[in-house]
Every structure is written in C-alpha cells, then in structure tokens.
Symmetry: C2
Subunit: 363 residues, 2 copies
C-alpha cells in the first residue's frame, strides 16, 4: 500500500486562541470542575435544553476519576437515558492521512444543511489526556466547529480501551439527550478500537485511499468484514482512475465474505471530501441502510445485541481484571508458567490450581 501522503492534507491550522474550549486539555477541565460545585439538576436541565457548554461539562464529569463525580455521572446518565437512543450512530475508521477529519467535516456540514444536529466523538485509547492523535485539535474541522448545530469532542481520556469505550458510550447518551440526532464516532485503525466502535454504532464506514494497486495489502483482519460501506476518499484529479480501479478491487473483496445477518450488502463509494464530491451519495447510502435495517428490525436487534455485548464484556473484563490484578495471583501465575515450561504441569492443571488458590486464599 502506498504510504499516505499527509502533505496532501488540506486541513488548515488556525490560531487556537480564537476557538472556545480548545486549548484546555481534559486534565485541565477536570481540575477546573473540581474547584466548582456541580449543580446536577441545573446541568441536566441545561444539557437537555441543548446547551453545548453544559454537555461539554457533563462529558468532563464522565472523564473524571473522582468518586464523587462518578456518583454524579450515574445520576446524570439515568436522567438522560429515557431521552437517548433515537440518533443514528455512525462509526468512521481509516488510517491517518486518509482524510477522516475533512470527510467528517464535509459530511457533518452536509447533515447540518439538511437540518440535523451532529455530534462528533472519537475512540482512541492510545491518545493521552494532553495529546490526542485524532480529534485532539478541533481546528482540523474549522468550519464544522463554528456551527451551533455541531458538537465536537476529542477522544475520551484513558489508556484502557474498555474505559475509553465506556466513556464514549456514556457520551453518546448525553449527546442524544442534548438533541443531537446524528452521532459520528471516529476511530483509527489500531487494535481493538474498531471493534469497540463497530459495537456501539448502527453503521460502520471504512475510509480508504486508492494506492498504486495492491489495494487490499495490509488491510487489518476483520475490518472489511465489519464495514457496511467502503468509501474511497481523495477520488479526484489524478487519483480518480486509481480510485475507480480500487472500487472494482474492493467490490471483489467484499464478494468474498458470507452474507450478513441483516441482509445488507456492503457498498463501495468514491468521494472527494475536500471537493465535497460523493458526500450526498454517502448520506443517501447510509439513509438507505437505516431504512433497510429498520424495516427488517435489525436496527433494534443490533442495538439489543450491542447492549448484551457490552454487559457481558464489562462483566468479563471486571472478573478478569480483579483476578489478574491480585498481587498474590500475579506471583502464582508466574510460577505456574515456569512449571509449564519445565513440563511439570499442564496449562489446564495450572489454571485449576490458580483458581482454587484464588477462591480459598482471597475470599
């Protein structure tokens, strides 16, 4: 695959100081929050009335590790839940350089012109509190950020995907309660983040570039299978012919996979987000998909399956985390692994012994 040429990026840099809330990192926001007393009732009302500052403060509460804040988050979520769930949640992935920010800006502005309210979130556990690699800088979407009908929030802070995913799922609820009816969730093609975003969205879109042939080389396992659409971006100028060839190749690749439960056949589209070409077609396709899955009830079935997935995932994560985090178990695990290597025990026997030990010593 051709290395993405980031010098082609059309994303202008603007002076941060001219943007509200931009230069404050999550950490600083959380510190500021601690100094103030949170009036939960007012925050909840303001949020529900569509006040984006209230929404922003509420999401900052979600990101706080402070126990008092976490108790407040619980109340806030419970108040928002009955008013959430009606938005269309769209996951967008693609490697750096593919033009995700430009694409999201173009799609976001297109949707706002059509009367929608658009929230943009991100999932990127690799991004630290102070230095997000995606959406860390809202100046990448300078036109969208100026719209009163857009809400843009960089990735939740945290290093564990489970934690970031949880915060993002909770942020979706708040955004929906605040009246945003389209949620765009960006992720980068790293590890399990795409699976997490796929498991919290209704439609999953893979952004690609046309390279010098060999389009499929280096595509990560499972990503194509998750995609409801592959959008080949930067299909303009000299890239257009290569993009058309890539479309043929991706269509062939999609053909390889077994049909999906929801009877949707993934489509390949060409766009030039920079020149705003193909954005309308992309939205038409998403709308067609939503109509399709609402008609055959896979929209609700998918949401239900996602809730079950996150319930089981959270339970199992926590069971495992508690087991492996235990210092006594940590030592015992090391010594059992050495015994396995020395052919003194099997993996199964070692597991039994560890669990017996866990139960008797630690309860």
């Amino acid at each position: 695959m051709k290395k993405p040429d980031t010098s082609h990026s059309a994303l202008g840099e603007v002076d941060n100081s001219s943007q509200k809330h931009l230069s404050q990192s999550s950490a600083e926001r959380i510190k500021a929050l601690r100094r103030k007393k949170v009036d939960l009732k007012k925050l909840s009302e303001d949020l529900r009335s569509g006040n984006s500052t209230a929404l922003s403060r509420a999401i900052t509460l979600i990101e706080s590790q402070n126990n008092k804040h976490q108790a407040q988050v619980k109340q806030l979520i419970e108040a928002c839940l009955p008013h959430a769930g009606d938005a269309i949640r769209i996951g967008i992935t693609g490697v750096p350089g593919v033009g995700k920010s430009t694409f999201i800006e173009s799609l976001g502005l297109h949707l706002i012109n059509k009367g929608h309210k658009v929230a943009v979130l991100a999932v990127d556990p690799s991004s630290s509190v102070s230095n997000g690699s995606i959406l860390g800088d809202k100046t990448r979407m300078e036109k969208l950020v100026q719209s009163s009908n857009a809400f843009i929030r960089p990735t939740a802070s945290g290093t564990s995907l489970g934690g970031v995913a949880r915060k993002t799922r909770e942020s979706i609820i708040l955004c929906e309660a605040a009246g945003y009816d389209i949620i765009l969730i960006e992720t980068v093609g790293v590890g399990q983040s795409e699976t997490a975003v796929h498991s919290m969205t209704d439609f999953f879109l893979l952004l690609k570039l046309a390279g010098a042939g060999d389009e499929l080389q280096g595509i990560k396992r499972g990503i194509i299978e998750m995609a409801d659409a592959i959008v080949i971006n930067k299909a303009d100028g000299q890239n257009l012919d290569a993009a058309k060839r890539a479309k043929v190749e991706f269509n062939r690749a999609l053909h390889m996979y077994p049909p999906k439960d929801n009877h949707w056949t993934p489509k390949v589209l060409l766009t030039s987000a920079l020149k705003k070409k193909g954005i309308d077609k992309t939205w038409q396709l998403i709308s067609k998909f939503i109509a399709h899955v609402k008609a055959n009830h896979h929209f609700e079935l998918n949401r239900l399956a996602q809730n079950k997935y996150w319930l089981h995932q959270s339970i199992e994560d926590q069971l495992k985390r508690e087991f492996y985090a235990n210092p006594t178990i940590k030592k015992a695990l090391e010594s059992e692994l050495k015994k396995i290597e020395a052919k003194q025990t099997t993996a199964f026997e070692a597991a039994n012994d560890l669990l017996k030990y866990y139960k008797t010593k630690l309860d």
Copy 2:
C-alpha cells in the same frame, strides 16, 4: 462454491467386526474401565514402552468424568509430561467431502514408510459419544489402522469445545510419551474448533476442493489467515485444470494478508490423496516450515504462546462459567437486561451491579 460431491469419495466401508476396538464407543469403554481396577504404574510403563492398548486405555481415562479417574489422569499426565513435546503437531481442517480421511491416510502411510510413528486425533465437539462425525469410524483409514506404527483415536467425547480441547491436548501428551513423533489432528470447519486446533498445533493445513470458480466464496472468517498451507485435494483427472486455477486464486487471496510473525509465507499445493500424488511435496513443505521456525525460534515461541493461551483461556472460561452458572446471577442478569431495554440502566452500570451482588451475596 460447488457442493462437495461425496459420491466421489473413495473411502471403502469394511466390516467393523474385523477391526480391533472399533465397535466400542467411548461410553462403553469408560464403563468397562470402571469395572476394572486401574494399575496406574503399569499403565504408565506400558504406555511409555509404546503399547497402543495402554495408550488407548489411558485416553479413555482422560475422557471419563469419574473423579477417581480424573485424579489418576493427573498422575498419568505428570508422569508423561517430561517425555512429551518432541513430536511435530499438524492440524488439518476442511469441509466434509474434501477427502480429509483419505489425505490423512495417505500422509500417515507416507510418514510411516519414512520411519515415523503417527498418531491421529480429532477435535469435533458436535460429535456425540456414540456417533462421531469425523474419525468416528476408523474403517475410513483401513490401511493406516492396520499399521503398528499408527494410532488412530476418534474425537474426544463432550459437547463443550473447551472440554474437548483439553482432552485432546492431554491426549497429545500421552501419544508423545508413547513415542509417536508426528501427531495429526483433524477438525471440521465448524465454529471455534479450528481456532482450538490451530492453538495446539505447530503447522495448520487447510484442505480445499477446486470448485466451479468462485473459490473464496463461503470460506470462513479467519481460516485462511490461520493456514500455513492450503492443499487443494482431488487435483486429478477432470479436476486438474480447475485445481490449477484455484491455486492461482488462493495464492492471490493469501497475498492479501499481512506477513506472519514467524516470517512464513503460506503456500498452496495440489494433491490427489487418492492417487497419492503431492503427498511427498506436502511433507517436504511441512519439513521446510518446521526447519524455518526452529531456526528462527518461532517453534518454541509458538509452543510457549500456546501454553499461555490455554492457561489464560482455562482461567477465564472457569471464571465466566462459575459466574453465569450461578442461579441467582442468572435471574439477576435477566432482570438487568430488561432494565437496559427499558432504558433504566446502562450495560456498564448493570455489570457493576451484578458483580457487586455476586461478591456480597455469594461469597
């Protein structure tokens, strides 16, 4: 994909009664075992001396659910472990009709002619105790079964993959201690069985048939990625041209995947197991692979990773099983799911509540 034409199968049926140990199902063997007193020391010695009847009885012990037998298994495994691990473990998968039995018989006989001792095991959790769908009938390998240097054992009994996998991993240890230096492990292309077999073998071989074009259609997710070689069987007579075309198409598909950690590039081969064509080349390829991964230490690294995988897998399976099997938790889980659907709680909050409940009520 063309439906495999099982009428082309060359597997002759022979009179069961003329074969030793064939008509006895696992259940009957276990019953017989209960009536006899097991002399563990003698069983272990006989097994180590290469006595196949002792090996067979020892594997029957593994399959028994009887607690006393399980304690004996533990001793037996511990005695065998220091003498295990030196064999080459080969996983073989493919849909019914692809000619797995004929292929395994041809490969097995080829290896025995070269001076090896070959054990053939299977992993098929869908197969019941009395009616195994693969390797249930050793008459499918009538020549191999007659060799004193071959040991063939149908799939372990059990309906959970974890259980069957554990029994198979333990059977491998016993076979290796009994002097079998090549272990062939057969599985069918069903669910997670292939992942399990891939995680207990050094080399993973996917058997395919050439169809009427469209070779890749319907291939299960991840199977191609696991394969160290794709062998297109029944590449003879009128099938030969189609097989050659399939080889091109599979090579193109393999090209799509990122390089493996062990720096091995999977190969595509043509065989006619029935006419014993390509079997020598298959073995040459496997030998080349083993030399390659032994030279770059990925052979040991892979075995070590497999041990870790099964250790963690067993721990996590057991943690989950105990949690979900608890009747109180079962009820609470149902009610939490209903609360999620009614938008009264989130999946994360529900998980927290369930785990708190689990810890306080049940310890």
